[in-house]
C-alpha cells in the first residue's frame, strides 16, 4: 500500500515524464489492437457484402472490377452489358435480375441507376421522404445527405463524365424525394435514381420541345429540328410526357446486374449458362471474389504485423531504457531509504509499483481506445470502404 502511495506521488509530481511514458506505452498496446479490430471488421464487412449478393452478371473481364463497381460503386468502369441480358434472366424464370448503371456521378458521389427491387433486396429503409416514383427523381444515401447538406425538396445535378462531354449530354437536375437511413455500407454514399433516369443522363432518353406542332401539320410546313430546339434539363410534370427513348430498350446499357436466383438449383443452372469462355458476359459469385481479395489483403497484414511488432519492440526497449535510467537517477533515494531502515525488497516494490501503475494506466487507455474503435468499427469501416470506392 505504501509502495503504491509513493509510486503515485512520484508519478503525479513527475507528470510530464509519466504522461510521455503512459502515452507511448498506450500507443504500443493500442495500435496493434485497433489494427486488429479494424482489419477483422473490414474482413467481415467485405465478405458480408459479397455474401449478401448471390450472383453478379457483367461483361467478361476483371471479376474484381465488376464486383467493386456493383457492390461498392467504385470508379472502376467495366464494359456494360445490355438490358437484353436482364430480360434473358427474367425470361428464364430462374431468378430476379436487378440492373445497376453506375456510369455517372454528382458532386463526387456515384449515381446508381437501378430498380425498386434494389431497395428491397438490400433492405434499405427511408429516413425521410419517399421512394422513387417518377422519372428524374433521386433518393440519396445518409452520407450524401450529410456531406452535401441536402434533403428532401433539394435538387442534385449530374456531373459531365469528362471535360469534353459537352456535345449533347445535358446535366440533369434531379429533385431529391427521399433520404435513406444510415446502413454503414457503400449505399450511404450513393445517389439512387431509376435506371431510366440514368439513361436520360447518358443521353439515350431525352425530352424537348415538339419539333412538329399541330399547326405545322395543318399548314403543311416541314418539320424543323436543330440546335434551337430546347432540351429539358429537369423532368417536371409539365414536360415528362415529352421524354422518350430512341431505339430498343434491349440494347440499353447496365454496368452490372445483381442476380438473385430462386434457389441453389437455379443458381447452378444460371452459372452453367455463362461458362462459355467465348461469351461476352460472365456470371460470378462476388463472395468468392471478395474472399480472394481479403486473402490477399491479409497476406499483406502479416507483413504489417511484423512491422508493428518491430516498432513495438523498439518502443518497449525505449520505455525500458527510460525506466532503467529513472531508477539509476534514484540511486540516492534508494540509499536513503536503506539507511532509514527500508529493506531492498521494499525499494524494489516501490519501483515495481511505479512500473505496474504506468503500464496499468497505459493498458487502460489502450483498452478504452480499443473499445471506442470496436463500438464504431462498423461505421468507420463502412466509411473507409466507401471512401476507397
Amino acid at each position: 500500500m505504501n509502495a503504491v502511495y509513493l509510486a503515485y506521488a512520484y508519478l503525479r509530481y513527475h507528470w510530464a515524464r509519466s504522461l510521455v511514458l503512459v502515452s507511448v506505452a498506450a500507443l504500443i498496446l493500442f495500435v496493434p489492437l485497433a489494427t486488429q479490430i479494424l482489419l477483422s471488421t473490414s474482413q467481415r464487412a467485405l465478405i458480408a457484402r459479397g455474401e449478401a449478393t448471390p450472383l453478379l452478371l457483367g461483361s467478361r473481364g476483371s471479376q474484381l472490377d465488376l464486383t467493386m463497381a456493383a457492390l461498392y460503386f467504385s470508379d472502376e468502369r467495366p464494359d456494360p452489358v445490355t438490358m437484353h441480358e436482364v430480360e434473358t434472366i427474367w425470361d428464364s424464370g430462374l431468378g430476379l435480375p436487378i440492373p445497376l448503371h453506375t456510369a455517372f456521378a454528382s458532386s463526387g458521389f456515384r449515381i446508381v441507376g437501378t430498380t425498386l427491387d434494389y431497395f428491397d433486396f438490400r433492405g434499405l429503409p427511408l429516413a425521410q421522404g419517399r421512394g422513387l416514383a417518377v422519372l428524374g427523381e433521386a433518393v440519396i444515401g445518409a452520407e450524401v445527405a450529410q456531406a452535401l447538406g441536402k434533403g428532401v425538396g433539394d435538387t442534385l445535378v449530374s456531373s459531365p463524365e469528362n471535360l469534353f462531354d459537352l456535345d449533347g449530354v445535358y446535366p440533369l437536375e434531379m429533385p431529391i424525394v427521399g433520404v435513406l437511413a444510415p446502413a454503414n455500407s457503400p449505399d450511404d454514399a450513393a445517389i439512387f435514381v431509376d435506371i431510366k433516369t440514368a439513361w436520360v443522363i447518358q443521353g439515350i432518353g431525352h425530352g424537348h420541345e415538339d419539333v412538329v406542332t399541330a399547326a405545322d401539320i395543318a399548314s403543311g410546313s416541314a418539320a424543323l429540328a436543330n440546335a434551337a430546339v430546347v432540351q429539358y434539363q429537369r423532368i417536371t410534370p409539365e414536360n415528362i410526357d415529352s421524354f422518350h427513348f430512341h431505339g430498343s430498350q434491349d440494347g440499353f446499357p447496365a454496368s452490372a446486374v445483381i442476380v438473385v436466383p430462386n434457389d441453389t438449383r437455379a443458381a447452378t443452372i444460371l452459372k452453367g449458362r455463362y461458362l462459355d469462355p467465348d461469351g461476352t458476359s460472365q456470371l460470378i459469385d462476388p463472395a468468392e471474389v471478395m474472399r480472394g481479395l481479403v486473402d490477399r489483403i491479409f497476406r499483406i497484414k502479416t507483413l504489417l504485423d511484423l512491422v508493428t511488432a518491430i516498432i513495438a519492440l523498439a518502443a518497449l526497449a525505449a520505455i525500458g531504457l527510460a525506466l532503467f535510467l529513472s531508477y539509476r537517477l534514484r540511486a540516492s533515494e534508494i540509499a536513503t531509504a536503506v539507511k532509514l531502515g527500508a529493506r531492498r525488497g521494499m525499494v524494489l516494490r516501490l519501483l515495481a509499483a511505479e512500473t505496474v501503475t504506468l503500464l496499468s494506466l497505459a493498458g487502460g487507455i489502450a483498452v478504452l481506445g480499443a473499445a471506442v474503435i470496436s463500438t464504431n468499427a462498423e461505421a468507420w469501416v463502412g466509411w473507409l470502404l466507401a471512401l476507397g470506392a
Binding site: 509530481y13 532509514l340 531502515g341 527500508a342
Partner: protein, 221 residues
C-alpha cells in the same frame, strides 16, 4: 547510550582500515567527530547505525548490541532507534515537506503511521519554524528549510540516537549555527543523543565533546 569496543572494519575494495579501540556516548550527550576526509567518520556512523558490520569488536546502542543483530534486526533497530540527518538533506523531490517527514513510516513495517505520528510530525514542523510550509515540495523551500524538514524526519520516529553527517555542510554560515542549535534543542526535547560528523570547527564549542578522528585511522596494510 553508545558503546564501541575494539572494532575494526575494512572495505573489500581496500583503501583503508578503521580501528576504534573505544568510544562511548552518554544519554543526551552531544559529540562531534572531526577529522580529515577519508578518515572513516562516515564509516563509523554507518557501523553504529548497523548499515555496516564490524569485522571484530562490539557496538552497543541503547542497550542493544547492534553488531550482533541479523540484517533484518539491524534494519528494524535502525528504523525505530536511530535518526539520520544528511549533508545533502536527502529529501525526496516528489513528496511534500509533511510527506518527507513521515517518509520513514512509508518504507518500513517496523513503524506504524498513526494519528500520533502525524501529530508529532506537525508539532516538530511547528517547532522548527516550517509549520506553514508542510504542503510544499522541497523545490519550493530554501536550503535551511529543507534541512529543517530533514531534522523533523530524523526525530519523528522518537529515536534514541541522532546521527548527523555534515548536516550543516551545505548551509550558509548564518544558518549553520541556527540549524545545529535547532537539532540540539529538538534532540534534547526527545531525549536523544547526537553524534555529528562536521568540518566546521567554529561549531565545535556547541558540542559537549569533540573527537578528532585522525587518530583512529590505520594505514593500509
Amino acid at each position: 547510550m553508545v558503546e564501541v569496543e575494539n572494532i575494526t572494519f575494512g572495505y573489500a575494495a581496500g583503501g583503508f582500515r578503521l580501528r576504534v579501540p573505544h568510544l562511548s556516548l552518554a544519554d543526551g550527550e552531544r559529540l562531534a567527530i572531526v577529522g580529515p576526509s577519508g578518515s572513516g567518520k562516515t564509516t563509523l556512523l554507518n557501523l553504529i547505525a548497523g548499515i555496516l558490520t564490524p569485522e571484530t569488536g562490539r557496538i552497543t546502542v541503547a542497550g542493544t548490541e547492534v553488531s550482533a543483530l541479523p540484517d533484518a534486526g539491524r534494519r528494524r533497530f535502525r528504523a525505530s532507534r536511530i535518526g539520520f540527518v544528511f549533508q545533502d538533506f536527502a529529501l525526496l523531490d516528489y513528496l511534500t515537506a509533511r510527506q518527507n517527514i513521515l517518509y520513514p513510516y512509508r518504507i518500513t513495517p517496523a513503524l506504524k503511521l498513526d494519528a500520533a505520528a502525524r501529530a508529532r510530525a506537525d508539532a516538530l514542523a511547528r517547532a522548527c519554524g516550517i509549520g506553514d510550509k508542510l504542503d510544499r515540495h522541497p523545490a519550493a523551500l530554501s536550503q535551511g528549510e529543507q534541512q529543517r524538514v530533514a531534522i523533523c524526519r530524523a526525530l519523528v520516529t522518537q529515536p534514541r540516537l541522532v546521527l548527523s553527517d555534515e548536516a550543516t555542510g551545505n548551509l550558509d554560515p548564518e544558518s549553520k549555527a541556527r540549524i545545529l542549535d535547532l537539532l540540539f534543542a529538538q534532540a534534547a526535547e526527545a531525549g536523544a543523543s547526537v553524534l555529528a560528523v562536521t568540518h566546521d570547527h567554529e561549531l565545535l564549542p556547541r558540542f559537549q565533546r569533540v573527537l578528532d578522528f585522525a587518530t583512529y585511522r590505520e594505514p593500509v596494510s
